[in-house]
């Protein structure tokens, strides 16, 4: 029986995105089921960030469509997908206020959002930083707050664009643990990364993107042991792609 409260599956059909006649996303089809962690791999400029933004609805496709099981990915009027950016956007407010602001935008009342924000601080070990201005936090702490903010919004689907690219190994591990915990809660993750070790650690499924297309769509195990295309083999071997 289909779960009528879930926004998944997500179906992307013949997605095209052009800027000034340049085809940056060149006909992508994609089906995203509930629960799995999907990692986007591919060289710089492949279109990974664009694909995430298109799926999240921040960009409007030139052609094709992004279709959720429920309209706009909303259940009972509440948006059930969210995005964590490579460089987290921190409002010029305290850590706590960064959380309550997002929750207020999602429609939570005063008491409800304060309770939820406190829960998020606890869960992501940010309680000691609650009253600090968010913009003086370290990069790792900021990214932790960004993920806490996404978790507080209780989204089913998280899009993550290179969430650890600016972090040191220990902060990266901390973020990865958080992501794994989110996955264990049944949330669906779609993440772009250049960290192949991270992809191996987290991915159930790999989408290999090159020049605006998905060149390979495989289980992580299959992709890393036996990539099907020459491009993916070269990418994994660290060769330059044309």
């Amino acid at each position: 029986m289909r779960d009528t409260t879930s926004i998944l599956p997500l179906t992307v059909e013949s997605l095209v995105f052009e800027v000034d006649g340049r085809r940056l996303i060149d006909g992508i089809d994609l089906h995203l089921e509930r629960g799995a962690t999907t990692v986007l791999l591919g060289p710089n400029g492949a279109g990974k960030s664009l694909l995430l933004r298109l799926c999240h609805g921040l960009l409007t496709p030139t052609a094709g469509r992004v279709r959720w099981a429920l309209p706009e990915g909303r259940a009972a009027g509440v948006k059930r997908h969210t995005m964590v950016f490579q460089k987290p956007v921190m409002l010029r407010r305290s850590v706590f206020a960064n959380l309550t602001h997002a929750l207020a935008a999602a429609g939570l009342g005063y008491e409800a959002r304060r309770a939820r924000a406190r829960a998020a601080l606890e869960r992501f070990r940010l309680a000691d930083l609650a009253d600090r201005p968010a913009r003086v936090l370290s990069g790792g702490e900021q990214q932790r707050l960004a993920i806490a903010r996404a978790w507080a919004l209780d989204a089913d689907v998280l899009f993550l664009d290179e969430p650890t690219s600016q972090l040191d190994p220990s902060a990266t591990r901390a973020i990865e643990e958080m992501l794994r915990a989110l996955k264990d809660e049944g949330r669906t993750l779609m993440m772009a990364t250049h960290d192949l070790g991270q992809a191996r650690r987290l991915a159930d499924r790999v989408l290999f993107v090159h020049a605006g297309r998905i060149r390979e769509d495989a289980s992580a195990a299959a992709f890393f042991t036996a990539p099907a295309t020459g491009k993916a083999r070269a990418f994994l071997a660290g060769d330059l792609l044309d």
Binding site: L58, L91, R92, R93, S94, A105, P133
Partner: protein, 233 residues
């Protein structure tokens, strides 16, 4: 003119020996602060919207607003005078030569400053926040409260610039207020009058007090901004 005469004039002003001085200060502050408040209520949201909206002709509007920052006070005064004169469209209100007319004229001077500086500040902040706010469905006018709040310490500077312009100008209040003693005489119009009468010590005394008041207000606003900014970088 000697230094002692200036000191005497200031002492007389502050001590109340010059009749009608404190009401002049009071009226000046009332007119200018009302104008800045009105301009803030209209100009902050308007400037923020202009900062984030994209529409054909936007560049022309931005240039126009920027140009209006240099609007000569006498021209603003003249425009309000025509509006409020007996045969003007707002003539029936009977506001000409009253504090209301002066507030209106100064609002017209301050508004472009508030709109232009707010637009610039919010546009920069929007560039940084746009994707996060769009992700939260805060697009268009729904983004304005967040942006204004997060830019509040920079926006104080815009309001101070507006206050500076209003408190310093004489042309607009003179034309629409008429410099009527005890009724529409402000510090700047009084200075103009005393100077033309040749009472330089009195004019200078008034001028120094005007500068002092402006300094105090700016210092208070700056201090408050510093304290606040420490908590919201």
């Amino acid at each position: 003119m000697d230094f002692a005469a200036i000191i005497t004039a200031i002492a007389d002003l502050l001590g109340g020996a010059t009749p009608g001085f404190w009401p002049i200060v009071g009226l000046s502050l009332k007119v200018t602060l009302s104008a800045v408040t009105l301009a803030a209520l209209i100009g902050l949201p308007l400037g923020a919207l202009l900062g984030i909206a994209r529409f054909p002709g936007r560049t022309a509007v931005v240039v126009l607003v920027n140009a209006m920052m240099g609007l000569p006070p006498v021209v603003a005064g003249l425009a309000i005078f025509l509006l409020l004169s007996r045969s003007g469209p707002l003539g029936p209100l009977g506001w000409l030569f009253s504090a209301k007319a002066m507030i209106l004229a100064q609002t017209m001077l301050v508004l472009p400053i508030v709109v232009a500086l707010t637009r610039q500040t919010i546009e920069d902040l929007w560039r940084e926040y746009a994707e996060h706010l769009a992700s939260l469905d805060l697009t268009g006018a729904r983004a304005v409260p967040t942006l204004l709040w997060d830019a509040r310490f920079s926006l104080v500077t815009a309001l101070l610039a507006g206050f500076g312009r209003a408190s310093a100008e004489v042309g607009a209040v003179l034309i629409v207020g008429g410099n009527i003693a005890g009724h529409t005489r402000t510090m700047t119009t009084a200075i103009a009058l005393e100077t033309s009468k040749g009472d330089l010590p009195l004019a200078l005394g008034l001028g120094l007090i005007l500068i002092l008041l402006t300094l105090i207000l700016n210092a208070v606003a700056f201090g408050a901004g510093r304290v606040g900014a420490r908590h919201a970088r």
